[in-house]
Amino acid sequence: MISADLAALSYAASAVLFILSIRGLSSPETAVSGNQLGMLGMAIALATTIAIIAPTLEPVTIGLIVGGIALGGFVGATLAQRAPMTDMPQLVGAFNALGGGASLLVAAAAFYAPASFSLNDSGGGISARSIVELCVSALLGAVTVSGSAIAFAKLNGNMKGAPILLPARHLLNIVLFGSIIGLTVLLAMSNGTAEWAFWAVVVLALVLGVTLIIPIGGADMPVVIAVLNSYSGWAAAALGFTLGNLGLIITGTLVGSSGAILSYIMCKGMNRSFFSVVLGGFGGDDVAAAASGGGEERPVKRGSADDAAFIMKNASKVIIVPGYGMAVAQAQHALKDMAQKLKDEGVDIAYAIHPVAGRMPGHMNVLLAEAQVPYDEVFELEDINSAFAAADVAFVIGANDVTNPAAKSDPSSPIFGMPVLDVENAGTVLFVKRSLGSGYAGIGNTLFYNDNTMMLLSDAKKMVEDIVKAL
């Protein structure tokens, strides 16, 4: 047993270490040591808790705790080791579901053993206020579990990405939510004895998570995950208030802010409104993720791998613009080989990353890092956009929306106002994609028909490998 003061300080210290671990991510140089600080923070938090409960431990509870940590640690470490980098969106979604599950289970446990959390009132029951708080935690946790599970399934391909529009789904959601509130009130009035009502809340909340998320298209899942991640952070902070734990409050707030900011960044990059997203308003203007292009038959210039190799060999500056298609095709390693070959020929190479290229924030950067592209060759939109005018070739691989000039010129376009990469300013634009089809936003790209554009229609990995051969 340690003093309450020391325990509170230790929890706060671990929260400070978490802050520093996120701060470390401000540059790749400090990120690795930041991550270690995060691990240290978690170790301190766990050790503090063990120290607090030490006097009440019994062999069987020690077994449960050690067993849970060991088993969970093993599973987690294995997942972390095995997951391919292209699966990061799914993995984050899966972890998110587990985090929500943990919150849900903790709320349920607190319902059964209020005394362990000092939630019991004088009569031995649970106070109405604590019951409401626990139900809120359970609700948020359960929605996160099932919502993230759907997001995972859509991203991982276990479920079709297309939106599933249930009839009268808004009414359904309202009914579900109303029932949850009703059950919570009933539970609070029963002074916590109506066990079934608690589990009914959990079940309805799980259903609500599903009905909220299935109408949303698969390509929007990254935003869903960030928002659910944010919710789970605020849920942890709320639990921190209930349990009076500084570590939970600060850490939950960090996670909540992180999710909120990331979803804000994604929405801004995609030109959608933040509030429509937070309110779950994805339903209204769903876009089919794989909608195929809006094409009257206009002539395009098509090229082969040999053409591309010839053009780039004779260029002095090539800017590579990767997009979602590069991730799908897993073309990053071949791309790096191509860039190396070109560098050996004396060509200057840079990578231009749009803030929402790919399907999650930082997606392209991780894949390029995996292919050992040094991060100082990789530039953000605002740092490189003016350089296209001085480049001979823009090599656009699997990207589409992030180059679409409609965002600059066509006020009726759904992406009007979104910042885009000005690839058309380069001498020649090479587009590697499989068809003239559209991307995530489901709109055609007039660049394909420009005079200085050459389409390299093929799977991205195959095309780049052929170019490497031709070089």
Binding site: G67, G73, L98, A102, H363, E377
Partner: protein
Amino acid sequence: MKFLTALLCAASLAMPAFAASSLQGVDATVFLVVIFVLAVFVGYYVVWSVTPALHTPLMSVTNAISAIVVVAAVIAAAATAGGAEVGRETWTARGLGAAAVFFASINIFGGFLVTRRMLAMYRKKS
């Protein structure tokens, strides 16, 4: 980073010598609310300071640290009946707690390790 650390260290060394004398009447919730509000500021700034190139590791590391609920899960897994015989309720709490420990541990180990794996890949031009 160095500057902030210096500020923090210098300041923390100086402070714990002082103590509040007239605050014992204030409810702890007030402090928690203030701490929460300040944490919102810190979260806002610290997350915006993350470079966009590391947004994916940011997502995985927040997965890991949100598993801080493990502290509550451990308490649940170690639930006692407060001297009385351990009955169904306590066992249920323990079981739920153990499952929560299991889930949270997956997040902790998985989150931190996958972040480490990603970060190890970011290299400067040699």
